[in-house]
Subunit: 422 residues, 2 copies
Amino acid sequence: MSPQNALYAQSGGVTATINATACGLIETARRHRSRIGRVYAAHNGILGVLAEDLIDTSAESAATIRALLYTPGGAFGSCRFDLSPLPQGRAQYERLIAVFRAHNIGYFFYNGGNGSAETAHRIATILPRMGYPVVSIAVPKTIDNDIVHSDSSPGFGSVAKFVATSMREAMADLASMAHSSTKVFVMEVMGRYSGWIAAACGLALPAGGDGPLLVLVPEIDFDRTRFLAAVRARIARHGWCAVAVAEGLRLRDGRRLTQAGGDGIPGHEQLGGVAPLIAAMVRRALQVKVHWGSLDYVQRAARHLASQTDVDQAYAVGRAAVRFALQGQTDVMPVIERLADQPYRWRIAPVALAGIMNREKRLPRRFLSADGYRLTARARTYFLPLIRGEAWPPFAAGLPVHARLKRQPVRRQLQSAFRNIS
Amino acid sequence: MSPQNALYAQSGGVTATINATACGLIETARRHRSRIGRVYAAHNGILGVLAEDLIDTSAESAATIRALLYTPGGAFGSCRFDLSPLPQGRAQYERLIAVFRAHNIGYFFYNGGNGSAETAHRIATILPRMGYPVVSIAVPKTIDNDIVHSDSSPGFGSVAKFVATSMREAMADLASMAHSSTKVFVMEVMGRYSGWIAAACGLALPAGGDGPLLVLVPEIDFDRTRFLAAVRARIARHGWCAVAVAEGLRLRDGRRLTQAGGDGIPGHEQLGGVAPLIAAMVRRALQVKVHWGSLDYVQRAARHLASQTDVDQAYAVGRAAVRFALQGQTDVMPVIERLADQPYRWRIAPVALAGIMNREKRLPRRFLSADGYRLTARARTYFLPLIRGEAWPPFAAGLPVHARLKRQPVRRQLQSAFRNIS
């Protein structure tokens, strides 16, 4: 009897290192050909499974799979879609069983965040009850760093390294212009619900003191008066002030600043972006020249400056997912456990999905100073190992080289398309 | 008689490699101690000269000067200020002579763009006529790539490499999300008057074909209807579309899009930023999910991804400035001459400032396709050598290491402060 195949899918917002996880998973599976047949990848996440739109990764050379280690984005396509619970999602699960059966899928690996963990959990629990035994494992990935029970999330270390580096560089620029020109630079980073990334920008400043860098996170209500006073004090002391702000910054009434239109600037809700609002606020109140930037996809795709720690961990969770599957584990996620801060040591351990899914790890309040604007020593101890090491990708003709996949489609076995996906 | 001293100053918007020029200049001057005494640096550009606010670079170790090679920003401070012409600027020139005489300055090096070339020219021509002979040399630097008679401008190659890399990475991200989420990503880059940087983003796409990346430059009037049709066509064919837009994008009536408020969104002029306007326009017209980013200082400070060609050339113009000065040349700029495209060969040559100052090299129309949205082969031939090679800086504890200067002040010799600077 030929061994069962594995199916790998990517889910949610992608990262600079999600493909490193794909690499770890596929390379490890290839070393166990007696127990895992082919590794298929769903095209565009779980939607590709439902559509029976699969890619045969065994058509890719070892070199191509290795190149996933330094390729940003989601190489097989991702999606924003969650399976429905039973009973209304019954048709979805029947379809999954039909697809899994048609392609002899014995292992399902879902590479995503908290929401995706629930999808993996449903597949792990519902499909066997409906008569199709399958191993289902959630593999962690999110720049948001909000997966509970995992010390950090693959993808976060690299975005943290990139934003802290970019902030340090922009501060050098600002410092040289402040005497007769720009005195404030506002940099917006991702983080709708939590300030992990904005806080990581705080690493740009050496430890200690009221340096000219403030971080604004969604966990702490934005107080306009207090913030402007803090900026004014930094300018008075240092000549300039940099600000890192999370996109999800909130007012005391719970609204996001971008929803509230900041200083009451009409039309802003159509534009989005909290950095221009903060910039306009500072410009008007302090009468100084202000620059602002917003990194958006650039930050989470910045594989050219990935953290070696992050790449190692992203690879390791992919490898561990296969090993756990082969050990007979299912309905789990391989998470990162921190064993020591310095020297940093970590290991991968399996955690039941029921304890992870749809929960969110928030930035601890103790990571920020009493005024909320600066990193504490505790935060630095946490963050620094995660951004350590430079996993430079190869460049050719001045630009980074990315994997070029064949993406060979798996021949469809089912007669019908699936239309009942929402 | 002890040799005369040199005075170096940085001017205008800084770059990722302006300090590489400072490094080349100081290291070269140090090799000619019999002819050049100390190298002083003005604190904050020409304003620091007028204020007699000077830094003695001879207090910096050789290792610190070497570290300037990978330190972004302007290590000695820059300024936005130009000297006035005669006769109204007379007091400024008298002050300059007093400062130069007090500190035995025989060589003045002004590191800037087109405007700074005029300041260097005025010092080269006016001071000798007023009885103070001095060698004055403009040293090129600008991310804008708009210095005439120089094939490229130090600082440009690195920003071009960073934006093209970031766009390529963001496109990988976008491609993986487009099936069920974001279909358009708009990235704003610098360029008020010219589209050199926006055009460089076009390198993110391989040569040939109507790929899913459009560039929008100030040299070509923005046509909303044609642009939206181009985006729609890319989405239909590729599933997604990326857009690189220069901040100075203009309408047919000559107004910038940001002045005109884009789609008539009120309040936008207070916020700035053309990317959110383009994003809102696409979202409304095509009813698709759109992301946007604006890199601002992050792009021109991104020394972590500098072009080796650019670092080499930035160093070389600093070295050449000293050599030209020692050859008795004055009122010139060392510019970059391209000798061959492939393999790329270049050399430094002196050009008279009168032919350079206050002119601007625009992006040639032939660098963009007939529709204005894509790079031509000719443009690629021009751009590619400029972004070649990765001049990775050293990192420590996960972050780039920058020079830490003592910035030892030169003891003031003059009794009076100078108040007549505007």
